[in-house]
Symmetry: C2
């Protein structure tokens, strides 16, 4: 019998989303402790040396880093494969996942979503408009110019849906949270590709929890998610006061 | 017949070193274009969207990101396996590789080696002593405290030598370039572990090219390496003028 997997990390995080989409697609049983890393307590620091999310617990095994965890899930539960079979395609898929995790994470999450969303609503600070404007005018277009050369006009990157499609689409959810839309005239492949992946049932199911999480302060998210039927764990590692200085993500 | 693999990237880079050690251990035939990313020309930008090294070319396939490339090498050339067989150990090995690539990269390379080495010798700027002091007093000890809880007193992390041992040891080479030594009283496991991995023939072979590369200006490295018998490629993507703004590495 497979025991229930435990995910530590909030529905708002693109890295947590990547893992949850994989778990949903593979039909695995899991529960979630929707910790926001800024709020994690000392037990969270013990489980996550870099204070990143997601953390995944499978019995005695504690794992960090979304890419490491997703590959572990694939290795241990190969049904519904999410990595291409061909060795070269598999490497290209991992590269595009890495591009999403680092470059899209930088331009869409840290320079846009963090500035317009987290900074204001979690820390009560002003958005740095210069950072946002530079992201919108220069950094995001540069990343999208590259993606446009990589993405297919129809379907997914490597035939069947893979970790690369999932990872890329996850970051555009966070951009959408602060009302960013992809200019379909300028980046038609990227715009239709992202819409296609977001329309998948796994993304749609999680979107309900994401959108509701965004509307309440962090300390109230847990109760709301339970009401909505999210698989929230009984125990939590969340503290009640945010701490800054956590910039690296996983 | 296996064609010769091509590696783009300098012997000084810990990420390039990780790949080269894997290639040496697997006995694969390769050539190297010892580009320093700050000097790469426009063709380099085309092959490396984030201007990171290493890039690896295997026939028509161009790959970026050292972790992606090393995993590809393992998948395609499984002889002399460098990833643990056990699924949980394999995930833990990948996590420790990621910890090395991000956290050790940050504290040992960017805050220490870059400040004391690259900044002065490539860009002709002054070292920021505040950054170096903070690294030595706080950031590096914190990372080593974690490593000390993970590393074995003898042998390697997962029995046979793996990507985790290699990755961790690679970063301490760069620290050694600027005369950093691990305090063996405070971190005895880390100190002996790193010495043990550095003593492997693959590390020793590369060390010759590393040490000589450090002693000459970038534009003269290529010729010197050829004299030393390094497998330097006939073509080069290196320009002659450094450009800044490349902070992310792979």
């Amino acid at each position: 019998m497979t025991q229930r997997l435990k995910v530590i990390g909030n529905y708002i995080s693109p890295y947590v989303r990547k893992l949850l989409v994989c778990l949903e697609l593979k039909g695995l049983d899991y529960e979630i402790d929707p910790v926001v890393p800024f709020f994690g307590d000392e037990r969270f620091s013990q489980l996550s040396p870099l204070r990143t999310i997601p953390v995944m617990i499978d019995g005695d095994l504690v794992l960090n880093d979304s890419s490491v965890i997703c590959q572990y899930i694939e290795d241990k539960y190969p049904q519904v494969p999410l990595y291409p079979t061909d060795v070269a395609d598999r490497a290209r898929a991992r590269w595009l996942e890495e591009f999403a995790d680092t470059r899209l994470g930088d331009v869409l999450v840290w320079r846009l979503f963090y500035e317009k969303g987290i900074r204001r609503h979690v820390f009560g600070e002003e958005t740095d408009e210069a950072v946002v404007n530079d992201a919108l005018e220069r950094a995001i277009p540069s990343a999208l110019d590259y993606l446009e050369t990589q993405l297919p006009a129809e379907g997914f990157l490597f035939g069947a849906l893979s970790i690369a499609d999932i990872a890329i689409a996850c970051f555009f959810r966070n951009a959408a949270f602060v009302r960013y839309t992809i200019d379909a005239q300028r980046w038609p492949r990227t715009a239709t590709f992202v819409a296609r992946v977001h329309a998948l049932p796994a993304f749609q199911k999680l979107a309900v929890f994401e959108e509701r999480s965004l509307r309440v302060p962090v300390p109230q998210q847990r109760e709301l998610l339970i009401e909505l039927g999210a698989p929230v764990s009984a125990e939590s590692l969340s503290g009640t006061t945010p701490r800054k200085g956590v910039r690296r993500i996983a």
